[in-house]
Each structure stands twice: as structure tokens, then as C-alpha cells.
């Protein structure tokens, strides 16, 4: 086993950087409140769902050092359950989101319990295989409607709010995103987050200090999977559908890409990465499969020359100049 110190995932967690992060959080919130008046709101909402997805993923890789290559299973499962609850069972959206998120929680307990039995590269392969298993199950299951997916999920009333009104929908999605973001932010700045980072840096030493690392890793996995599920459940309100795309391995790859582009292990990196990648897909949509090729090129360039990602690189430059 090589040590993980070469990881290039920076940690700078003194008081000053915590204050900086609070300022950055305020700026981000202000920007996101104003953004739908500048950009097409549906684009921003979609990007916000993926941003939450990427933040959840980043919690696991950036702070726990676990690369899950199957995170689409949480997003896709929650999407399906939430869409099914709202459309086929005729429940209101709040019940749908709750059902989707709880299912993702249960799924992450089960898959996490199995996947954390192995480390490193095996962990990635196991999560990928588990999500492919679910993908194949969903292609055959009745309630998912196979290739068609669940289409035309009604907006409905969320606790008395009419979601067919776009600004209402937008600020609801934004609230969900900020909720998820703050949960993650709190987690990484808690004693639990510190232990997680210690495990990432040197698991053997953490064990020798008496930490039950398996339990910490499982809890991080469950938290990450549940929030990824929340992102998937909320996405149903925006896209009004749930389909096989959300469970496919390419979706798991995309969330890795977003996090990598934005900056692994940075607080705001996944948000930036999600906006960049979703924006790129939007503008390059007419070019068909070239999008895949460009994504591949971004992967290669990021890994070889740009491992800190956008936010990580900015942080690095700022730290050097002051």
C-alpha cells in the first residue's frame, strides 16, 4: 500500500480559513439568490441538484479518501422512488422527496456495509459493480418503465407552495441545496470530520489510536449516499422525470469529473465543478458524442496537470501570495 500523503488534497483548517469559508459561503448564497434573474432558471436548478450530488460525493472522497464509482445508484434510486411516489401513488412532493431520501439512506447502509470491507481500488470497483447491479435490476423492474423512465411527474403543492411557479420552485431547490451544503460543511468541521481526515491520511495509525475506523467510514458513506439521494429526489421536481440515465455508470463518472474539476477535498470545489460541467453539457449538446470525448480529455488533463482543481488552485495561489 502506498501512503496517501501524495494525494494533493490539501487541508488547511485553522480558524482563519474557517472564517474565509464563512465569507465565501455568504458570497455564494448571495450569488445563488440572484442567479436565476440572469441565467435560465432551469439551468441553475439542474446545476444546483448536481452541485449537491457532487458535494455529497466529495464528502466521501475528499475527506474520507474513498473513491466511490457507483454514486449514481443513490441519485438514481432516490429519483425513481420519489417520481414513483409522486406520480403513481399520487403523493405530494414532500412525501416523495422524503421517500426517495430514506430509500437512499437504507441503500447506502446496505451497500456501505459491504463496500467498506475492502479498501482503495477494490472499494471503487465494488461500488461500481453494485451500482451496475441496480442498473440492471431497474432495466427489468416494472415500476421504472424500462427505457422510457417515469415521465411527466406533476409539480404539485409542496407544503402549500405551488411548484408550477418557477421562482417558488427555484427558491425551494436552493433551500434544499443550502441545507445539504450546510450539513456537509458542519460535518467536515466537526470532531467526526477530523477523525475522517485522520483515517484518510493514515488508517493504520487511526486504528492504533483506538478509533473504530470501519464505523467512521460507514457513517461517512451513509451520509454521503443519503445526501446524494436527496439531490436525486429533488431533481425530480426540476426535471419532472426519472430515467435510467441517473443510475448509469456514466452518471457516476460525471460526478467524479465535477468534483475533480472543481477541486477534490475543497468545500466549494464541487459546486463550481457542477456548474462548469452542467454548463458545458448544455452548450455542447448539439455536438453529440463529442461531449463524451471532451469529458475524457478533461479527466486526463485534470489528473495529469490540474489535480487541485479550480477552487484548490485558487486557494493555493491565494495562500502563496499572502
Amino acid at each position: 500500500m502506498t501512503s496517501v500523503t501524495e494525494n494533493a488534497i490539501p487541508i488547511a483548517n485553522d480558524r482563519k480559513s474557517f472564517d474565509d469559508q464563512l465569507i465565501a459561503f455568504a458570497l455564494m448564497t448571495a450569488a445563488l439568490i440572484a442567479l436565476p434573474w440572469i441565467f435560465y432558471p432551469y439551468f441553475v436548478m439542474q446545476a444546483l441538484c448536481f452541485a449537491l450530488f457532487a458535494c455529497a460525493f466529495n464528502l466521501l472522497i475528499g475527506y474520507g479518501g474513498l473513491l466511490s464509482f457507483g454514486h449514481a445508484m443513490f441519485m438514481g434510486t432516490a429519483s425513481y422512488i420519489s417520481a414513483h411516489t409522486i406520480k403513481a401513488l399520487g403523493m405530494p412532493p414532500e412525501v416523495g422527496i422524503l421517500a426517495g431520501t430514506v430509500t437512499a439512506l437504507l441503500l447506502s447502509v446496505a451497500t456501505g456495509w459491504i463496500a467498506i470491507r475492502r479498501q482503495g481500488i477494490y472499494f471503487s470497483m465494488i461500488t461500481l459493480a453494485l451500482s451496475q447491479l441496480l442498473y440492471l435490476v431497474y432495466t427489468q423492474a416494472k415500476f421504472t418503465h424500462g427505457e422510457d423512465g417515469i415521465q411527466g411527474v406533476p409539480h404539485g403543492m409542496f407544503l402549500g407552495l405551488d411548484l408550477s411557479n418557477t421562482p417558488t420552485l427555484y427558491y425551494l431547490i436552493l433551500s434544499f441545496f443550502l441545507f445539504g451544503f450546510l450539513v456537509i460543511f458542519r460535518t467536515i468541521n466537526s470532531p467526526f470530520g477530523e477523525v475522517l481526515k485522520a483515517i484518510r491520511e493514515n488508517e493504520q495509525r487511526a486504528i492504533s489510536l483506538g478509533y473504530k475506523t470501519e464505523q467512521y467510514k460507514l457513517l461517512a458513506f451513509v451520509l454521503s449516499g443519503t445526501l446524494a439521494g436527496l439531490a436525486g429526489a429533488v431533481k425530480v421536481l426540476v426535471a419532472q422525470n426519472a430515467s435510467l440515465t441517473d443510475v448509469h455508470w456514466s452518471m457516476s463518472g460525471e460526478v467524479v469529473l465535477m468534483t475533480l474539476v472543481g477541486g477534490l477535498g475543497t468545500v466549494f470545489g464541487p459546486v463550481v465543478g457542477a456548474f462548469v460541467i452542467v454548463g458545458m453539457q448544455q452548450y455542447l449538446a448539439p455536438f453529440g458524442q463529442w461531449v463524451t470525448v471532451i469529458q475524457g480529455v478533461i479527466f486526463v488533463v485534470c489528473v495529469l496537470a490540474f489535480r487541485r482543481g479550480i477552487v484548490g488552485e485558487i486557494g493555493h495561489l491565494l495562500r502563496r501570495s499572502f
Partner: protein, 291 residues
């Protein structure tokens, strides 16, 4: 339940064929992982390229199957060595995850390019005349080409095992896997050996691609789903032993074939379910080397 011998044997045969692809691919993954410490996500894409090279040779240059069997692995092997020199060699000393991400990126590029030009549908590749037809064994009908694929893969797998476990070159290889610095101190060019290993590994993938071309058609995404199954095979068998990879590959193919007969709905998920069971019972995998 009455057992239809003909149908059961036919599914077993299909299982053995898939098993030989699993064996060839997981063998390559294991060899590459041993030397480069990289899980080669591009393995499925290069398997696909191998099949496409055979297709081009036949349709553009008029070179038949037998030439393809020789040229395609060499061409893809050389291409792989270029990839290793250009990209993978810079990852030495970094965490495992970067190798996975880089090769995933390479797979996206290769598959995306082929999809641009060939769409997602399959291109037919004609079987060589000498391997057409079959023999009636009484209890089943044995198509010659399928028998050939199984036999040939088995020979290639065993030859690879022999080279790695029984020859001087293989001894260098195994030594370099254990301790590259020490082997370099003995005056052996380890970086060049790493490049050659990567070439050998992806060459095996290309060979599997050529073998599968007449059976499964040639498609840009033919390797994308296959590689995930092979990952599950690798998790089950572990990458510690060459013979372990070969046996696990064939065994899982057979189990998949049997499932196709007894419970067809589960045939494409059975390998993943087995992976789950193995992880529950014996988390280190069947060959037992922890990682």
C-alpha cells in the same frame, strides 16, 4: 424439472465463451495492476479497439481473420505502450485513484471517438470459412468456432501463466512487482518492463476483442459494460495470482451460463450477486490476498 440436455449444453458453451473473455481480460488487468499499480479502466475500450482493428483489416485491407488474430493484439499493444509512455508513466507515486480516473478518461475518449463515427449499432464480422459449421456430438451440437474460441483462449491464458511463473523474464517481472527499486539496482530496465507489461495486458484484451468479433458483432460500446463485469470477477478472484484470475474467469462464465438456463432473468446480474456473497463470506476474495 426435466432437463433439456441440448439447451443446457448450448448455454454452458456460451458460458465457457464468456468465461474465456473474462479470463483473458482479468488476466490482463491483474498483470497490469501488479506492475503499474493501476486499475486499467481503459481495458474494455481497448478490447473494443481490438475488434475494430480486425474489422478494418478485413474490410479495408482484405486481410482475413488469422491475420487479425496476429496483427490486432500487436497494434493495440503498441498503442497501449504509447499511452503508457505519454500518460500513465507520470502517475508513479501518486494515489491509486488517479490511475483509475486517468484510464477512465482515456476510455471515454476512445469510446466517444468510435461512437462518433460508428454510432451505437453493431457491425457484422464474418466468421472465417474454416471455422464455420459444427459437429454433432450426439448429446449436443458443437459449433466449430465456439470450440475454437474456448480452446485458443485456454492456450493463450496458460501460455501467459507459463511465461510469468516459469521463465526468467517472468521472474524479473514478479521481482519488479515486489520491489522495483531493488530490481533496478540489479541493472534491469524496470520502466521499459512496465511499458512492455502494459502492452502485453492490453494486447490480451485486443485478442479477446478479435475472438468475440464474429460472435458478438463489433460495437463501440461492446467493452463498456463488459469491463464492469470483469471488475466484479477481479473482486471475486483477487488480483494476487495469475492462475486464480484464469480459473475465476472461466468458472464465473460457466455459472452465468447455467443461470441462463435455469433462471434467465438473473443471468446478467449473477456475477454481481456472487461478488456480494463472496464479500460477505470472505471479504479478501477467493485467492485471499488482502488489499
Amino acid at each position: 424439472m426435466a432437463i433439456n440436455t441440448q439447451a443446457l449444453m448450448a448455454q454452458l458453451l456460451v458460458g465457457l465463451i464468456n468465461g474465456s473473455f473474462y479470463a483473458l481480460l482479468s488476466l490482463g488487468l491483474a498483470v497490469i495492476f501488479g506492475m503499474l499499480n493501476i486499475i486499467n479502466f481503459a481495458h474494455g475500450a481497448l478490447y473494443m479497439v481490438g475488434a475494430f482493428v480486425a474489422y478494418f483489416l478485413l474490410n479495408l485491407l482484405g486481410l482475413n481473420y488469422w491475420w487479425a488474430l496476429l496483427i490486432s493484439p500487436i497494434a493495440v499493444g503498441v498503442f497501449g505502450m504509447i499511452l503508457e509512455r505519454a500518460f500513465l508513466q507520470w502517475l508513479t507515486g501518486l494515489d491509486h485513484l488517479y490511475g483509475l480516473l486517468l484510464t477512465f478518461g482515456l476510455a471515454l475518449i476512445i469510446q466517444g471517438l468510435f461512437q462518433n463515427y460508428f454510432g451505437t449499432s453493431g457491425l457484422p464480422y464474418e466468421m472465417p470459412d474454416t471455422l464455420k459449421g459444427g459437429t454433432n456430438l450426439g448429446f449436443m451440437f458443437l459449433p466449430t468456432y465456439r470450440a475454437w474460441v474456448i480452446l485458443f483462449s485456454l492456450v493463450v491464458c496458460l501460455a501467459t501463466w507459463f511465461v510469468i511463473e516459469k521463465t526468467r523474464l517472468g521472474a524479473y517481472l514478479r521481482a519488479a512487482t515486489e520491489n522495483p527499486t531493488l530490481v533496478r539496482a540489479f541493472g534491469i530496465n524496470v520502466p521499459r518492463m512496465i511499458t512492455l507489461t502494459y502492452g502485453l495486458g492490453v494486447g490480451l484484451a485486443a485478442l479477446a476483442g478479435v475472438l468475440s468479433a464474429p460472435i458478438n458483432q463489433v460495437r463501440p460500446l461492446m467493452g463498456a459494460d463488459l469491463i464492469i463485469v470483469v471488475f466484479a470477477v477481479v473482486v471475486i478472484g483477487g488480483m494476487g495470482s495469475i492462475m486464480g484470475s484464469i480459473i475465476t474467469g472461466f468458472m464465473l462464465g460457466v455459472i452465468e451460463g447455467l443461470t441462463k438456463y435455469f433462471y434467465p432473468e438473473a443471468s446478467n446480474t449473477v456475477v454481481f450477486v456472487l461478488m456480494l456473497l463472496v464479500l460477505l463470506v470472505k471479504p479478501t476474495g477467493l485467492t485471499g490476498r488482502a488489499a
